[in-house]
Symmetry: C2
Subunit: 268 residues, 2 copies
């Protein structure tokens, strides 16, 4: 009886969705704010500002779940939301959360005694942060400028993402081999090594960068090919940490993958 | 110079992460709230209540990105958060968002003229909602009770998730074949058909339920096997909508998959 009562109570809510949100949020176009007065879960009514916060949070969820794909720049009306997320506590919480989940998984794995268990890490926005660059370029609001970004990379000054450094050191201590698989090009090998070492990353076993014949491939194709090679060499890819789904999906996928948050840009 | 200034400004933030969030949020154990006063992105300081909201939002992100895996029940301290999410506007926004993204993708696909382009839908929490049941069982706070849930299923009263019905009708109109692939068992075929039809779902091409020999398989293994069979029959799985990552990952994956939000339960 109680179930039925709740069912009846919920029905109008569920059935009204398509009407209530007819002007629903589109990540590519800037919607005008919904002006319907719609009670929220706390029984209140959202202001336009709260509603925008909810819309941008919804967009970010969709990005992290790989539902928005592809996208070029963040929605203009979410510029403040993305900045506040990145510069405030939520980003740090999310980084901690993914590091802790990966760590718990790494500790649960029974490693072989042949030294063939591998953890793959992406580099940018996974181990080291380009937030200083993006802070100067609208946190994803500006269209990506390869030349400008390369200048930043060549400074070698990207700071460590500390929760990822913690995970990195943990998986090494557990006996995993660490392979770094990055979309950066071979011509940036030296500065990348220098940057990584300067901020505390050491003892990786392979650093795989894009060679000349990998340029022009999408990240998902290039990284899948490199993982295929790793597997052919007899390694087991147990864990994979990356901020892009193109780091994680494709062929020779890891046993478990960990999506590091990144609402700033999308790489196919 | 500007980049450098921002870099210097950001460094302490980034480097302090592992210290600031040392007692960081763990989805499996109930953490005591962080008591550090840590400025948020708006320059304010969060109350314990705001902090809990952030922690639960972070947990939900990690769930939607498949970083928390496996999990049995929602974190107890997030019970109100999950309830408010589901009963308020955010869940509806997220459902609309995923439906709209899937719809945009579906429209972008050039279909073959052989009738072999397929969209796969999961059923529970994807096409129809068991929220009335879960509202009576703590919104995921109670350990799953198979017998009790079966009684609910056998009522055949799960309402449609309207944004999914909209997508369902759109993909049919575009010329996709619709295959329903569910973890429900064959013994629930009749009531499932009746429930789906009653709330507006029609004209699917296959309804695949767990046969006797599929019981005991995880969802990811069972659904992969069924997708393998579909592909062997010459179909192209273009889209796949599901609320569990075990609906979407594995073998014979779709060209694009769409993760429908579900913070109530996890199926391996």
């Amino acid at each position: 009886m109680k179930i039925f009562t709740i069912f009846v109570a919920l029905c109008p809510l569920l059935f009204s969705l398509s009407l209530a949100n007819h002007d629903s949020f589109n990540s590519h176009v800037l919607p005008r704010p919904l002006i319907l007065e719609y009670p929220n879960g706390n029984g209140g009514v959202e202001s336009d500002e709260q509603l925008l916060e909810l819309q941008c949070n919804s967009w970010r969820f969709a990005v992290e779940a790989n539902n928005v794909n592809p996208w070029t720049t963040i929605p203009a009306e979410c510029a403040d939301y993305v900045k506040n997320y990145l510069m405030g506590r939520p980003y740090r919480m999310d980084l901690d959360q993914v590091s802790n989940e990966a760590s718990a998984f790494a500790k649960s794995v029974h490693l072989g005694d042949d030294g063939k268990d591998v953890w793959v890490f992406d580099i940018d926005e996974t181990l080291i942060s380009n937030l200083p660059y993006y802070a100067d370029h609208g946190y994803g609001l500006e269209v990506f400028d390869h030349m400008e970004f390369d200048k930043w990379v060549e400074k070698g000054m990207a700071p460590a993402i500390e929760p990822s450094l913690k995970l990195y050191e943990e998986v090494l201590a557990l006996g995993f081999k660490v392979f770094l698989l990055t979309g950066r090009s071979e011509q940036h090998r030296n500065i990348t090594v220098q940057n990584l070492m300067n901020v505390g990353f050491k003892n990786w076993d392979k650093l795989i960068l894009r060679a000349a014949d990998d340029h022009g491939k999408t990240a998902i194709v290039y990284k899948s090919k490199k993982r295929d090679e790793i597997v052919k060499e007899g390694y087991r890819i147990v864990g994979n940490s990356g901020d892009q789904w193109s780091d994680l999906l494709g062929s020779s996928m890891s046993m478990r993958s960990f999506k590091v948050p990144n609402p700033m840009y999308y790489i196919p």
